[in-house]
């Protein structure tokens, strides 16, 4: 669509084709009731915009050299580190994020709305800013990091643990929001029933609520894990880019693109495959329209 004048003709033709004749049963069923062009054209454009880059990635993949690329020690190192850190970050998010979600969903306290906004903030915050903020808090001279260093000799920045911290910071809100939504949808009267049977609030949470919201927690964990796996900005800012220690897949992809584009494509393909696998795992939850 180079010239704006011929664009309408083209799309009108395309729409006609798609609308199809009466013999094309399936198409007629979906689009035949007259999808208005001002909606159909941008919709198809939107679809192409999202799918085209992925197709390009597949088209440009050096399939013949792919096995060598993927078995190189650097790739393995980055992939292993990525999986390890994303999993650890998810575990951290679960341990502190699920109770936080419970607090937000089940306990009424002053300023709950503000707390929820603060929890959601990392979701919209540029990850680089998150990285800088983490440095200010947990860096060697950070307001907490100073004491961690002085009292326990713990240094987080530019370590593998730092990668986990950065990824958890960015990924945990996804888990909290997901679990909180599930908790709100879950019937709180089950907890009341547990209470009348003598269960303390914690026992009710552990033995009744947790099993009931397990699917929601699993979905939130997968989402958080995927987000952690792709985390770039906060990680490179807070943990740096040391191969084997803090260089995760996204960092490796970015670096490889400068020196060895084929390697970058191969690495990207691995991440794409992982993402597709994640989506496939979640399809029952999010891909079926309710």
């Amino acid at each position: 669509m180079t010239s704006p004048t011929d664009a309408p003709d083209k799309s009108a033709a395309a729409a006609d084709t798609l609308r199809g004749g009466p013999r094309r049963g399936r198409v007629r069923k979906g689009l035949g009731r007259g999808v208005p062009l001002p909606l159909l054209v941008p919709a198809l454009l939107g679809l192409a915009f999202l799918v085209l880059p992925l197709i390009a990635l597949l088209v440009r993949t050096p399939w013949h050299s792919l096995p060598d690329q993927l078995t190189s020690p650097e790739v393995w190192q980055a992939l292993k580190l990525s999986l390890l850190c994303a999993t650890a970050a998810t575990a951290v998010s679960l341990v502190i994020g699920v109770p936080l979600a419970w607090l937000l969903a089940r306990v009424e306290f002053p300023g709950r709305g503000l707390v929820r906004a603060l929890v959601t903030l990392p979701l919209v915050l540029p990850p680089v800013v998150g990285g800088v903020a983490l440095l200010m808090a947990l860096g060697r001279n950070g307001i907490v990091g100073k004491w961690l260093d002085a009292w326990f000799g713990v240094t987080l920045p530019f370590t593998t643990a730092g990668v986990v911290v950065a990824e958890a910071f960015v990924a945990m809100p996804f888990l909290v929001i997901s679990v909180e939504g599930t908790l709100r949808a879950a019937d709180p009267r089950y907890e009341e029933a547990a209470a009348t049977l003598g269960a303390s609030r914690f026992t009710a949470f552990r033995r009744v609520t947790l099993p009931l919201i397990a699917p929601g927690i699993a979905a939130g964990a997968v989402l958080a894990w995927a987000r952690a796996l792709g985390e770039f900005g906060a990680t490179i800012t807070f943990a740096g880019n040391f191969p084997g220690r803090t260089q995760t897949m996204p960092l490796a992809v970015y670096l490889a693109l400068q020196s060895d584009p084929e390697a970058a494509i191969a690495l990207s393909l691995v991440l794409l495959a992982v993402s597709v696998a994640v989506l496939a795992g979640l399809r029952d939850r999010w891909m079926t329209a309710s």
Partner: protein, 379 residues
């Protein structure tokens, strides 16, 4: 062990206190205060205020009966501790429970839709309570198995709630509530979730289990039949207040509000008696057999009303009114006519009679009631 210092700040103290209470219950040694329930429940919720006094002795089954929104369920939740009291008191076997958390009250609840934990088997649902009260897993399961046996559900021990029928789920819910040996059993609309056939069977079983239960049972229902079959005493609540209480027979014979009269299927009027004549407030006089003076209620069943197309000439009935048919509905194999006029009333007649009278909304009819079929009692 001394429990004199009833601070109830620690859970330990709670448990000790509870142990003491159940010990009293088991051995029959009377506590310092009278056994059973002594409650005055006041719950303020915006424009709605519940203000209800309830007392019951161990072994009593009390039904809270009332229309939707009357506050029955709120009363039940207040007894369980799920809704805090604004004011009033709650004593169970002499112990003050107003500030006790729900999990520390010796109270069992059967919820309207049972709320069986969907991820646990029937056995583990019943074992949940004993487990929370400190029994080991094996002990709790053994006790749960006994309860399932008593409920005739031993075969369903391993079934998840969604595999159970409505009647089975109801019995599991009852077993689950009873397995903690509560001193107060609460049942919220225990039969509402069941279909008509199951209902009959479960009602009979529930009646038997409630009769065996040695502590206080309070059930909430909007169904007068459930209330009358299951309870020894009815407490009728309307708009947050008790409007009448008494035995089922007493309430059925002598309703004091339109709601109750309608529930038990009676025409009810308030008026002033002067010998055998009752002057109905804003209405005609009704002749009765009772000889009374002062404010009274007069009640008679719809079946006592006879309808005529034209003014009857030879009828001996002294109570004769001209009415207009406002509506007709089938009521079992009968037709119930809703009549307006100088005395609004409901009349039952057979389908054949309705056809012969050519009854239709708007038709004018004459209604008579024999004095012998009315029942007058002081208001």
């Amino acid at each position: 062990m001394t429990h004199t210092e009833k601070t109830r700040k620690t859970e330990k103290a709670e448990k000790a206190l509870k142990a003491e209470q159940s010990a009293y219950g088991a051995t029959g040694v009377p506590g310092p205060a009278p056994a059973g329930l002594d409650a005055h429940l006041v719950v303020d919720r915006g424009s709605f205020r519940l203000d209800v006094a309830l007392t019951a002795a161990p072994g009593d089954v009390v039904a809270l009966l009332g229309p939707n929104g009357a506050g029955k369920t709120t009363a039940l939740r207040a007894l369980a501790g799920l809704t805090p009291l604004t004011d009033g008191r709650l004593r169970l076997d002499g112990a003050a429970l107003e500030r006790t958390a729900p999990e520390s009250r010796p109270v069992g609840v059967v919820f309207q839709d049972y709320l069986l934990f969907p991820h646990l088997t029937a056995l583990d649902n019943v074992a949940f309570g004993p487990r929370c009260h400190g029994a080991t897993k094996a002990e709790a399961r053994a006790r749960a198995a006994e309860w399932l046996e008593r409920m005739g559900l031993a075969d369903h021990a391993g079934a998840k709630p969604r595999r159970l029928s409505g009647g089975q789920a109801q019995r599991i819910a009852l077993a689950r509530a009873l397995a903690t040996n509560p001193r107060l059993l609460l049942l919220d609309e225990p039969l509402a979730a069941l279909d008509a056939r199951t209902r009959l069977e479960v009602r009979t079983q529930l009646r038997r289990h409630l009769a065996e239960f040695e502590a206080v049972a309070v059930l909430v229902t909007h169904d007068p039949l459930d209330a009358m079959v299951l309870a020894d005493r009815l407490v009728v609540i309307e708009d947050g207040h008790i409007v009448q209480e008494g035995t089922p027979a007493d309430i059925a014979r002598h309703p004091r509000t339109d709601y109750i009269a309608h529930l038990v299927g009676l025409n009810l009027y308030k008026g002033r008696a002067e010998g055998h004549t009752v002057q109905v407030d804003d209405g005609p006089a009704i002749t009765t057999t009772e000889d009374l003076t002062g404010p009274v209620f007069v009640a008679f069943p719809p079946s006592a009303v006879t309808l005529y197309r034209d003014r009857p000439t030879g009828s001996s009935a002294r109570n004769l009114w001209q009415c207009e048919v406002a509506g007709l509905e089938t009521h079992g194999d009968q037709i119930r006519a809703d009549l307006t006029g100088e005395l609004p009333l409901a009349a039952d007649l057979t389908t054949v009679a309705a056809a012969e009278l050519d009854l239709h909304p708007g038709a004018t009819v004459w209604a008579t009631v024999k004095a012998a079929q009315t029942n007058a009692y002081p208001a």
